[in-house]
């Protein structure tokens, strides 16, 4: 150990440090931040230590901090002299042997490699590691790091935080040395002011100006405080900064002390960060030992002391006046300002408080200059900021980006979007003082002013991504619950106001809120914001105000429909599966009834919830599985296949007629009301079924010759055999629904005629019109749209299909067309302009098509269709696309490259989407939305014309069977409410007798899958491709249910 007093001793320590960082032998450094140890880095370190000892290897072993990509921990750095530094990811103790084997032979295990670093800009120094290992991507090419600029995190994860010599080796304490030698404090303050560095704690006040105030204050004692009481839930950059590089903080503070005239520094740090406390303690000791802290620093006659105080768990202590009270040994209740701490702070003395991250920017600004700093970032917000990117993103971790980077870069390019293919709904910035920014606004640049314009703040840099499974009302409630419990209680608006806000929000999440409550919540939030004493209270309503501003529809859903679409507010739903089911089937009930061996009751339960259980059991997109709690154990319960099994079993038995009678027995007495349903697709059928059960005389009109709509005329037989649908229609006919076929309303029958003859009309005409792409060559013979093609096949009409078919599109219609064409003996190529994961088709269907021999071409946009001399199709030309910017759907926009590829083919099927037949809608005199759908009240499905209701694809655009049926069911309920002036829907259901307690021990069996015919066999025929579950399998599935409907303390 050397006490540094002059340049030569400084240089000696610098050389010693470099020899540790770049020794003449391989060096292994294990990432030992808290996130590393939380992933088992301790064990990895010991495994290396033991193995190196056992083998007697000449390899250095060190501990380092976190390199930022927390999702890939434990991280291990490996450096072999002359080679680049390689960062290995997800290293386990048992990997140690193999890694050492590789190192001793001059290599690294490529399968574990995350990236390589050839040289590193430590800002205060430049380190060249070496070259080679080109198979491993450069760190700056890894999506997570692309665009990151590490100023604050310049040393994190690369040097050993426990060794001051390594810090000095990368240029540490040079800035301090320079400042002390120059002896020009005012010049330093001018430099900091010139850099426009703004406080990184949230308020964004200019650091240089704050320092100037403190310097100007006359007092025998001044204090510098570092606020490391990082209390924002969802933000942890300060912890990482301190754990990975404690000396940068000390250096910043010592410089700050020198230029402002303070001689005492205090770091107020959270007790919840034991490792950071420990690292700081040892860094302070080391700095003292080396003469960089304490008396006569660097022999220049300047004294500065730093002490550490642990906070005891109070978020409000992030507020500077509360923090000062806490340091004085008092309860952390904020005091009014003025007086400001710069005049009267700690113990009444002038005091300056800066956030941890602010201090980390000091040394780089001094070494590189103010204009170097302002080169990065946006004009009003210079430099970088570290953000903790957490929540529903694939790559979580700490990200340091120039200020002004758009939010979508964080969420999609760096974070890789939401996991499990879900869509991002919002990003919460600024913690409990910030707000939620909706997905549509992710173009917003991240800087102080832009976020404030949206009602949020940058705060300390927390960035929590929310996806479709997060309820924004619940998020607002969560933050108010947090600030409510962290409010110090001193001022009335915060103490009582937040309590009343929470009470109001609880009414929302319980479904008890009214429109008046929404207005009250708004008024109350503004009042708390405007009148509270400190920043906590003034900003606490932000999460409520921003969610009410950007997600008002979710609040309205909770009020008007008593519905939480995300399924978070448990009081509003029976179970997560029921809540996600568009038909709101009571899934736990039929599973339990079947489990109790009451298959007939189970069928009754199913069929009273959903009149087409066998059809939907085959083709539904099963949203019920997305939030099944069983996923926490293994996989979701296969609910769809159980109701398919129950229905199939009953249809095949002789009990079906008797069960139809039981359904008829539930019918309410005739009401004398007449209702017309236009369209016999799934929407219309569901609506007509319930209307008839409710006692209304119901007539369904359809232009086709049979009922079923898309189920009958589009879905190919191999997915849904026609006889299954016919069996289900028996029930709908049996309860008295009348059908008028071959009659198209609007053409064969005018709307006014219908209007005159019925008490209510429900429109559910579906999306039968194929969207058309305007390409050269679409007029050629052999270019056919998908829906008419599928319809012709379903009607057994002859279709002219060539030998080689190109299908353009990526939705279900494209896949259905491809698989149908394969069955008709053609060769098929599917051309889609985006990536595979962006396809809207059900993934199982795409896989099946591929297995059956369809070729897939991705990232290819149709360019033109080339004809032959006979007027037929010769080939299709496509342009290669690459992925560009993220669009508003969170997918990358395809950008044409100019490279053209030609596919020889004789038929082109265009499956680029379906729309509503607008002519009909226009003729009906109904209001139309911009998207070309009918405008309805979201809650009642009423159109702009009295007595007319609409549902299904005509209001939502092309969707799927269960969504369509959900609208039909809801419409029947709303029409009945209106016609009868009472809520009678609930009377349709009998009391079912079944166990309502949670299973003490749910089945441990894994999920049962259905079996498919082999691809080569099924592609030859239109016979059903997927067989259902066996009785035993269905029973075991039912036993796997965790019964979320049976809650603790219920029944």
């Amino acid at each position: 150990m050397t006490r540094i007093a002059d340049l030569s001793t400084f240089n000696t320590v610098h050389e010693d440090g470099l020899a540790k960082l770049l020794p003449p032998r391989p060096r292994i450094a294990v990432g030992m931040g808290t996130c590393g140890t939380g992933h088992g880095a301790e064990g990895v370190f010991h495994a290396f230590s033991a193995e190196i000892g056992n083998r007697g290897l000449g390899i250095s072993l060190a501990r380092t901090g976190c390199f930022g990509i927390c999702a890939e921990e434990p991280l291990v750095n490996v450096w072999i002299p002359g080679k680049p530094l390689v960062i290995l990811r997800k290293v386990q103790p048992h990997d140690a042997g193999a890694i050492l084997d590789a190192i001793t032979s001059g290599a690294v295990p490529f399968d574990l490699a995350l990236c390589r670093i050839e040289e590193w800009d430590h800002i205060t120094a430049h380190i060249k590691y070496g070259t080679g290992f080109e198979e491993i991507p450069l760190w700056s090419d890894v999506p997570f790091f692309k665009g990151q600029k590490k100023i604050v995190l310049r040393h994190c994860g690369l040097i050993s935080p426990g060794d001051i010599e390594e810090y000095i080796a990368v240029g540490g304490y040079q800035a301090l040395y320079k400042v002390l030698i120059d002896g020009n404090p005012v010049g330093v303050i001018e430099q900091i002011k010139g850099s426009k560095l703004r406080g990184r704690g949230g308020a964004g006040y200019q650091t240089g100006i704050k320092w100037e105030f403190l310097r100007a204050a006359q007092a025998e004692q001044k204090y510098l405080i570092c606020n490391a009481d990082e209390g924002d839930p969802g933000a942890y950059m300060n912890r990482n900064e301190i754990e990975g590089d404690p000396h940068s903080l000390l250096e910043g503070m010592i410089i700050g002390g020198y230029v402002t005239g303070a001689t005492e520094g205090i770091i107020y740090i959270r007790a919840e960060y034991p490792l950071a406390v420990h690292r700081l303690q040892s860094a302070i000791q080391q700095a003292r030992d080396y003469g960089l802290l304490g008396q006569n620093i660097l022999g220049r006659g300047f004294d500065f002391h730093v002490s550490l105080v642990e906070g005891a768990g109070a978020f409000v202590c992030g507020e500077e006046t509360a923090l000062i009270r806490s340091l004085e040994g008092k309860a952390g209740r904020p005091a009014p300002r003025p007086p400001y701490p710069a005049e009267k702070g700690l113990y009444g003395k002038p005091t300056n408080i800066n956030n941890v991250e602010t201090w980390y920017n000091i040394a780089p600004i001094i070494i590189k200059g103010a204009s170097w700093f302002t080169d990065t970032g946006s004009p009003r917000s210079s430099g970088t900021k570290v953000f903790s990117l957490v929540g529903k993103v694939n790559s979580t971790g700490l990200v340091e980006m120039p200020l002004g980077t758009p939010l979508k870069t964080f969420v999609y390019a760096i974070g890789g979007g939401a996991p499990n293919g879900k869509s991002v709904k919002a990003v919460q910035t600024g913690g409990p003082s910030g707000g939620c920014i909706p997905q549509e606004m992710l173009d917003t640049p991240v800087d102080y002013e832009s976020l404030a314009a949206l009602g949020s703040i940058m705060g300390s840099g927390g960035m929590v991504v929310m996806d479709e499974d997060n309820c924004m009302v619940d998020v607002a409630r969560y933050f108010i619950e947090f600030t409510h419990s962290e409010s110090c209680g001193k001022c009335v608006p915060c103490r009582v106001g937040l309590d009343k806000s929470l009470a109001l929000l609880n009414r929302f999440t319980r479904g008890a809120a009214t429109v008046q409550d929404l207005a009250m919540l708004d008024e109350l939030s503004r009042m708390i914001r405007d009148t509270s004493l400190c920043g906590l209270g003034q900003t606490a309503p932000n999460p409520v105000l921003t969610t009410m501003r950007h997600f008002r529809h979710e609040f309205e859903d909770h009020i008007r429909a008593h519905r939480c679409r995300a399924g978070v507010c448990q009081d509003l739903a029976l179970s997560p599966c029921e809540n996600s089911c568009p038909l709101h089937m009571n899934i736990p009930r039929f599973l339990e009834l079947y489990k109790e061996d009451k298959i007939e009751e189970a069928f009754l339960s199913v069929v009273l919830d959903n009149p087409l259980p066998a059809s939907t059991g085959r083709v539904c997109q099963h949203p019920c599985e997305n939030r099944c709690r069983r996923v926490g154990i293994d996989e979701a319960v296969n609910m769809r296949e159980v109701h398919r099994y129950i229905a199939d079993a009953i249809y095949a038995s002789n009990r079906y007629p008797a069960l139809i009678e039981q359904v008829r027995a539930r019918m309410l007495p005739p009401t004398g009301k007449r209702v017309a349903v236009v369209g016999a697709g799934p929407t219309g059928l569901a609506c007509a079924y319930y209307l008839a059960l409710l006692g209304h005389e119901t007539t369904v009109y359809d232009g086709n010759a049979e009922a079923g709509g898309m189920l009958r005329y589009v879905l190919p037989d191999y997915r849904l055999p026609k006889e299954v649908l016919r069996k289900e229609l028996e029930l709908i006919e049996a309860i008295g629904v009348k059908f008028v076929f071959n009659t198209q309303v609007g053409r064969d029958l005018s709307l006014n005629e219908i209007d005159a003859a019925y008490d209510a009309v429900f429109l559910s005409i579906g999306t039968w019109k194929e969207a058309w792409v305007y390409l050269p060559g679409t007029e050629l013979r052999g270019v056919i749209p998908a829906l008419p093609f599928l319809e012709s096949v379903a009607k057994n009409e002859p279709v002219a299909l060539g030998k080689t078919v190109a299908v353009i599109g990526g939705g279900n219609a494209a896949i259905d067309s491809a698989r149908t064409a394969l069955r008709l003996g053609s060769g098929v190529t599917i051309i889609y302009r985006r990536e595979r994961k962006d396809m809207p088709a059900i993934p199982e269907e795409t896989e099946a098509a591929e297995a059956e021999g369809a070729e897939m071409v991705f990232l290819a946009a149709p360019h033109r269709i080339i004809g032959n001399a006979a007027g037929g199709v010769q080939a299709v030309e496509v342009v290669r696309t690459t992925l560009g910017e993220f669009d508003s759907s969170g997918r990358r926009r395809p950008v044409p490259t100019g490279e053209v590829i030609r596919f020889e083919c004789d038929t082109v099927i265009l499956a680029v989407g379906e729309t509503v037949d607008l002519d009909f809608v226009k003729a009906s005199g109904l209001k139309i939305k911009e998207a070309g759908t009918i405008e309805v009240d979201r809650y009642t499905l009423e159109t702009s014309r009295d007595k007319f209701y609409a549902g299904g694809d005509v209001i939502s655009g092309a969707s799927n069977v269960s969504n369509a049926m959900g609208y039909g069911k809801k419409a029947a309920r709303k029409i009945d409410d209106r016609l009868m002036g009472a809520h009678r829907f609930g009377q349709l259901l009998p009391e079912f007798d079944y166990d309502k307690s949670p299973p003490s021990c749910p089945s441990g069996s894994g999920r049962h899958r259905v079996s498919e015919l082999p691809a080569l066999e099924r592609v030859k025929t239109f016979a059903e491709a997927v067989a259902g579950l066996s009785p035993v399998e269905a029973m075991e599935e039912a036993c796997r249910c965790l019964r979320c409907d049976a809650r603790n303390g219920d029944n």
């Binding site: 939380g38 942890y236 919840e272 005891a312 929590v464």
Partner: protein, 169 residues
Amino acid sequence: MTSSNEEIDRVIARHDGRPGALLSMLEELQQAHPDKYLPVETLDYLAERTDLPRARIFSVATFYALFNLKPQGEHTVCICRGTACHTRGSRDLLERTKLQLGLKEEDEEGSADKLSVTTADRQFTVRTVACFGQCALAPVVEVDHAILGHVSERTLDREINTLKRGGRA
């Protein structure tokens, strides 16, 4: 059982009895107590020796979430209620843990804030923390000071059952 007065004197001496060191002194005294709490007798003695108003010491000891005025259970399960953990289901974990340990709402201290409940047999204390700063591991639970990341109801059940059987987490 209380910390001995000599011990309190030692802690006071270490901080020269400075009023500003009250938080640090309380932290050390709580840490030194076998049941990890601050008995009123300890606070009384501290007031006597430091000349700080008793009401002020009590005010401080009840203001900060870290201080316990009741004996803590042998094992501590601390569930993070940070934003990242919340969005990844930490409320369900909390409910599940309380259910598993037979704790009901009415056992909770004070209002809904800074939850800290101890089972009647003093085996377990269930607490919440505002944020551990382990957001990348969400949801996070700390069991007897060991951080567990990506906790599911199943892994938490297993941890608690191990502790119930007398094993270490």
